[in-house]
Structures are given as structure tokens and as C-alpha cells.
Symmetry: C2
Subunit: 202 residues, 2 copies
Amino acid sequence: MKHAPLVQELIDAFTCLPGVGPRSAQRMAYWLLERNREGGNRLSEALSAAMEGVKHCEQCRNFAEETLCPVCLDTRRDQALVCIVESPADVLAIEMSGEFRGRYFVLMGHLSPIDGIGPRDIGLDALEQQVKNGSVQEIILATSTTVEGEATAHYIFDMTHGTSVSVSRIAQGVPMGGELEFVDGVTLAHALRGRQKVPHSS
Amino acid sequence: MKHAPLVQELIDAFTCLPGVGPRSAQRMAYWLLERNREGGNRLSEALSAAMEGVKHCEQCRNFAEETLCPVCLDTRRDQALVCIVESPADVLAIEMSGEFRGRYFVLMGHLSPIDGIGPRDIGLDALEQQVKNGSVQEIILATSTTVEGEATAHYIFDMTHGTSVSVSRIAQGVPMGGELEFVDGVTLAHALRGRQKVPHSS
């Protein structure tokens, strides 16, 4: 005996989610069928609406339902200051900090030649255009501090060569609340190299 | 800034799945939107088809797309021998063992007065009817060996009082491949009490 065909198809479909194997998928399918058909229908509708309706902002490539996302449309934000991040989740993390009043450029990935992901795949041609037409004056590189993130940051820095755009990289160092004892050596080396002078208070 | 409304709705809908909190839900939503819209659409369709099309077998209460499930329709199986289990997953587990040629009765839960789950909620009125009209001759109680599973098994055993139905409980003992050293005391006590005589080979 096997699952009923509709149940089997549902289990197979669930395995397309990240971190969901056959057993979790079966648990999810059974759970919805046994206890929460309403939730299942709601998820079905939310999925089809999102897959259909969520596009990318034409300026910053973040998820948006219109041509431009709310951040790119916000005239109170400095549209010439661009923070470059790898994913929409990074945008949310920076917004939560409340520290940034510019706009974003979301790569939706990072350079990864081994996976065949080149500059065009992460929208760097569009970014180059924005740099060249003068709409960008300052760039903050906020890609991850992984090998790929660093390589992507370097590539974008090189891209701005010969323009008047000012480029900075977010500080790498000891996280707040971090005890030195438990911080890894590479991070500590970065923290030492990036040390900042403390001015004497007058 | 928050998520786009459609994205937020998708994240909220994902949290209705078991074991999925806000962060996993966000990861799933982003993953589908960024890399697998096809998978998202497929999941949406599988969900709505299953929520709509999967019903319960009128005889055994297992998931079925027709009035009766394939097991209850199978004339080669002994329809008078009924194995009582708590969930469709248990049916699959027993089918995988290849040991059973009767049919099932799926409770879709167990008695749990504290959660307000009584005999009717797990279909015991329907089972009683099947016992009374003589279509059941033998019952194997294969509910879990938890407190609730044992209580449910007892309740069903009491229900058959005064009928000619033969009732048995699946054996409780040391699992195959289990080293005695690592088996818990309650299981060992059950294994000793349920010991079976080994016949002398002639």
C-alpha cells in the first residue's frame, strides 16, 4: 500500500522547501490533512498569490509588488546613498537597526563562478548603469564577510574605479556583547586592524 | 520597512505548518520567491487539490479519495480482521512490515479527556457498530504504548465485552537489534512478562 495519489503529490511538493526531507514533508501533509485544512487552503492561496504577484523592484531588485519598492519611492530617504546587500533578509536586518536612511541594492546572491553565477546574474550591469548615470554618490558594501561576499564586494569596488562615487565597507570586528575569549582569530585580527582612535574628551 | 504584503502573508501562512516558526517561514518564503517559483506553484496546486480531494474512508477512516480506501476494497485481504491504529502513518509502517493481511481502523488520534477528545471524536461509535453487526471477528490493538494509547486500547477492549470478537494487543518487548543494556526498565519488564515458551525441536 502507498499513500493516496493526492497525498503523495502533496508530500513530494513539500520536499521542494529548504530543510524539508521526505519525513518532515509527510508530517506536514498529514498535519494539515488531519488538523488544519483551513491553514492548508490559506497557504495554497498565499503561495499562488505571492508566486504570481511578487516581482522585483526595477531600481533595487528587492521584492516588490509594484515597479518600485516602498524604499525606492520614499523621497525622505537619500536615494544617492546605496547600501549593497546579498538578500532581502539583509535589508530587513539593516532596517531593524534603524541606522540607515539611504536606499538598497539587493544582489539576490553573490558572485560564485563555481556555480556559474557571474556579475550579470546578480544585477551588477544594472548597478553599473546607476553608477554611471550619476544617480549614485555613495556606496556602502554590506555583503557577507564570507569568501564569496568579500569577492563580490571587491568586484563592485573595482567597478566604481574612475568614478566619483565614494565606497565604504561595513566594519568588521567584535560583535556587541561578544566576549573576546570566544571571538575567533580572524575576526579579532580584523577588529585590531580596523581599530579607531578614541578622542580625548575636552 | 516591513515585508511586501504578499510576502508577509506567505510567511504567516507558512507558520501554520508543524515545527515552522517565523524564521523558518521567512526562509521558506524567500527561498521559493528567489529560486523556485515553479516549486511554489506546484505546492500551491498540490495543497488545494489535497485539501479539497482527500476525504476519509467510510469504513476505516484512513485518508482516501473515494468512499472506501484501497485496503477496504481489497477482497484478497481479510476484511474481518481489523488492526486498530492511531494514524495513517502507522498504517504505512505496518504495511511496510508486510506481516498483515487484514484491514485497518484508523482512530486519527487517541482518547485524551484533558484535550476534550472522547470516543466519538476518534470514531469509536462507528467501530462499535462494525463490531455489533458482525463484520469484525478479530481485533488487533496497535495503538501506541503511551499512556493515552494504552487507555484507548483498554477502552476498545471493554467495548468488545459480551461479543464474540477476539481481541489481542501487539507484543511489547525489546526491539529487534536492541542491546539489553540500553533498553529501559519498563520495556524490559513488559518483555519478561510477555515471554514466550520456546518449543524443543524434535
